[in-house]
Subunit: 348 residues, 2 copies
C-alpha cells in the first residue's frame, strides 16, 4: 500500500491517515482538493516527498472536481487549487515543486478540458511513480555509507510513510538491512508530534529491524559515549549552500554528532533542493498549534498546567558545516555544498 | 510549604508528591525509611538538593523507627538505613553527601540511643535549613549574571520543588525577577519525565514569571535565531574538573548554547561538587524504566507501538568546555574549573 495513491474508479486520492498510527491503520478518500490541503495541514500525510505526492494528486482531484467546460476555465480552476494547496504547509519545498511541475508540463495542453484533466493526472502519477524509484536509488547510494554493525540515530519519520513508498533516510536503513548488514536504530521519538515513536517504530517493526526508541535529548549521551556510528535524517528543504531545513531537533542532533566526529547524513530527493535560496535562513519555518506541545499525558497523567503557554516550532535549520553528506538519487554530495550542489540531474 | 519537611508530632517525613503535580497537590507522610528510599526511587521527590534533604530526614525516620536499646544497636540500624537510602538513586551526590555528613557528625554521640536519635534529627534539620539559605545565596550570586530583558532557557526543574525551598537555577530566575528584571523563560519540557512542563511551569505560574514551554529539541532553534541570552540548569553531580552530570538533555542544550555564544550556567550548592571524581566519565549514570519513554499519550492518542523497545537514560555529562560558569553559594566559579573548584567554602 502506497502512502498516497490515486483511485481511478472514482477519481479520488487515497491516503493513509498517519495521525491514527500505530493504533489504527485507516485509509481516507479525498474528492475535494480543499480537503487535501486541509489533510496536509493537519498532518494526515507528512514528510516532504509524501506531501509532494499528495499535492500532485490533490491537483488531479481539482481537475476532475471542476465542471469547467473550456480549457481556460479549467486552467483557472487549477490555478485556484494551486494557490490553496501550496499554502497547506510552508517549509517542505516538494509541495510547490510538484504543483509547479504539473502546471509547467501541462501548459501546452489545449485540446479539451478532459485532455488537460488527463494530462494533470498523468503528471501527478508520474511524480508518484518516480518518487518510489528515486527513493530506491537514494537508498542504494546511502546504503554504501552504512557499515555492518552500525548503530544509527534516526530523526523523525523518513520511511515509506514520509514518501510515496520506501523512504529516504529510513529507506537507506531498509536497504542496508536487506543487504544483510546488522544494524541497530536509535529512534528519536521526535517531539512534539512524535513521528519517530509513532511511525518509524511502527515501520521498523514491520521490517524486522532492531531498534530502541529514545527521547530526542538522549542522542547526545549515546553519541558522546561512543555507541553511535551514523546519524541520518531527511530534509524538508535544502538551500543552495547545503543548509538543511528539517524536523525540529535536527540541528541539535547534527551538532552532537559533529561534536563526537560521527557523520551525519541528510537523505533527500533532488526535488527537495531549492537552488533559489542561497542559504537556510531564507527558508520559511512553520510554527504550529501549541496543543502538539501541551497535549501530552504521561503514564495516565496530564502533563502541563491548564492554560500553560508554549511555542511550537516545527522545523529548524542545520547549517551546512554540520552535514557530512547529502544523499540524493544521483549520488552522495559532499562539502563544499555550494560548489557540489546540485548533483548531476538526469535530463528534465 | 517546604518540599521535604519533618513532622515532629509523629516523627515522620512529609514530602510533596511531585508525581501528581500539576494536577494534584498532595503531601505524603513517611514513617519507614525504606518507604523514603522507595519514594526517592519513584521520584515522589527529585532534584539533587531535595533528594539530599529527603535522605537526611529518611535517616531521622530510621532513628525513631528503630527500637534499639543501646547506642551500638541504633548505630547498626542507622548503618543499615544508610545502605538502603544511598542506593535509592545513583547520580545525585547530595544523597550520599547528606548521609555521610550525618553519620560523621553524630559519630561521637554515645550517651544514649535517644541522644543519638536527637542528634541525627538535629543534623538532618540543619541540612534542610542550610539548604534554603544556600539556595538564597546562590540565587543572589546568579542573579547578577541575569540582565533586564533576558530570555533564558531552563532545563528540568530546579525550583523550590527540586530543593528544600527556593531553588538553584530557577532560584536565580526568581531572584532576578524579584529584583525587577524583566525576564522570559523558555521552559524545556524535559523528556522523559517532563519535569519542566509539569513542575517548572507550575512554579513559574505561581511566581508570575513569563514563560513558554518548548520541547527540548526546540532550544537550538531559539538559540540559533538569537532569541536567547542565557541558559541555566542545575546539576546532580559536578566532578573536580567541572564536568556536569545533570538531567538528560543538558549536554545537547549546552552544546547549542556554545555554538551560538550564549553563556550556559550550572547552579549548584557546593554539596553537589564531588571532588573525589576527577572527571565526568566517572559519574554513575542512572538508566530507568522504559515506561517513562513509552507511556505517552498525545492529544488523546497512544504514541508508541505495543511492545516497542526503548532506552531511558536519566542523566548525561556536559563537558566543562561547554560550561560558562558554576554558580554556588560561595560565588560564581569560572574556568579553568580544575583550578578554581571548589570555591572558598566556609569552615566546616
Amino acid at each position: 500500500m502506497r502512502t498516497v495513491k490515486w483511485n481511478q474508479n472514482n477519481y479520488t486520492l487515497e491516503m493513509i491517515d498517519q495521525r491514527l498510527l500505530p493504533v489504527e491503520f485507516k485509509v481516507n478518500e479525498y474528492s475535494d482538493y480543499r480537503d487535501v490541503a486541509q489533510a496536509i495541514s493537519d498532518m494526515v500525510v507528512r514528510g516532504a516527498p509524501a506531501i509532494g505526492g499528495a499535492a500532485a494528486f490533490g491537483l488531479a482531484v481539482a481537475a476532475y472536481q471542476s465542471d469547467a467546460q473550456t480549457v481556460d476555465e479549467l486552467r483557472e480552476d487549477l490555478n485556484q487549487a494551486v494557490r490553496v494547496l501550496e499554502k497547506a504547509r510552508p517549509t517542505a519545498v516538494n509541495l510547490s515543486w510538484a504543483l509547479k511541475r504539473i502546471m509547467r508540463r501541462t501548459a501546452d495542453v489545449a485540446d479539451s478540458p478532459d485532455a488537460l484533466r488527463e494530462a494533470v493526472l498523468e503528471e501527478a502519477q508520474k511524480i508518484a511513480d518516480e518518487d518510489v524509484q528515486i527513493n530506491k536509488n537514494m537508498a542504494r547510494h546511502g546504503a554504501e555509507l552504512i557499515d555492518d554493525g552500525d548503530t544509527i540515530i534516526h530523526h523523525c519519520n523518513t520511511g515509506a510513510l514520509a514518501t510515496v513508498d520506501w523512504g529516504t533516510a529510513l529507506g537507506v536503513i531498509r536497504t542496508a538491512h536487506e543487504q544483510g548488514k546488522d544494524i541497530h536504530v536509535l529512534v528519536d521519538e521526535t517531539r512534539p508530534r512524535l513521528q519517530g515513536a509513532r511511525l518509524t517504530a511502527w515501520e521498523l517493526d514491520r521490517y524486522n529491524i532492531s531498534y530502541d526508541i529514545i527521547s530526542d535529548n538522549m542522542a547526545g549521551h549515546f553519541l558522546s559515549t561512543g555507541q553511535v556510528q551514523k546519524v541520518v535524517f531527511g530534509a524538508d528543504r535544502v538551500a543552495a549552500n547545503g543548509d538543511v531545513a528539517n524536523k525540529i531537533g535536527t540541528y541539535m542532533l547534527a551538532l552532537a554528532a559533529k561534536d563526537n566526529d560521527v557523520p551525519a547524513y541528510s537523505v533527500v530527493p533532488t526535488s527537495t533542493i531549492d537552488l533559489s535560496l542561497a542559504s537556510g535562513d531564507q527558508i520559511p519555518i512553520e510554527e504550529r498549534a501549541v496543543d502538539e506541545v501541551l497535549g501530552l499525558t504521561l503514564m495516565g497523567q496530564k502533563v502541563a498546567p491548564e492554560q500553560a503557554s508554549a511555542r511550537n516550532i516545527a522545523f529548524d535549520i542545520t547549517p551546512n558545516r554540520l552535514i557530512s553528506g547529502i544523499v540524493t538519487e544521483n549520488g552522495v554530495v559532499y562539502p563544499p555544498f555550494d560548489v557540489n550542489l546540485p548533483p548531476v540531474v538526469p535530463e528534465d
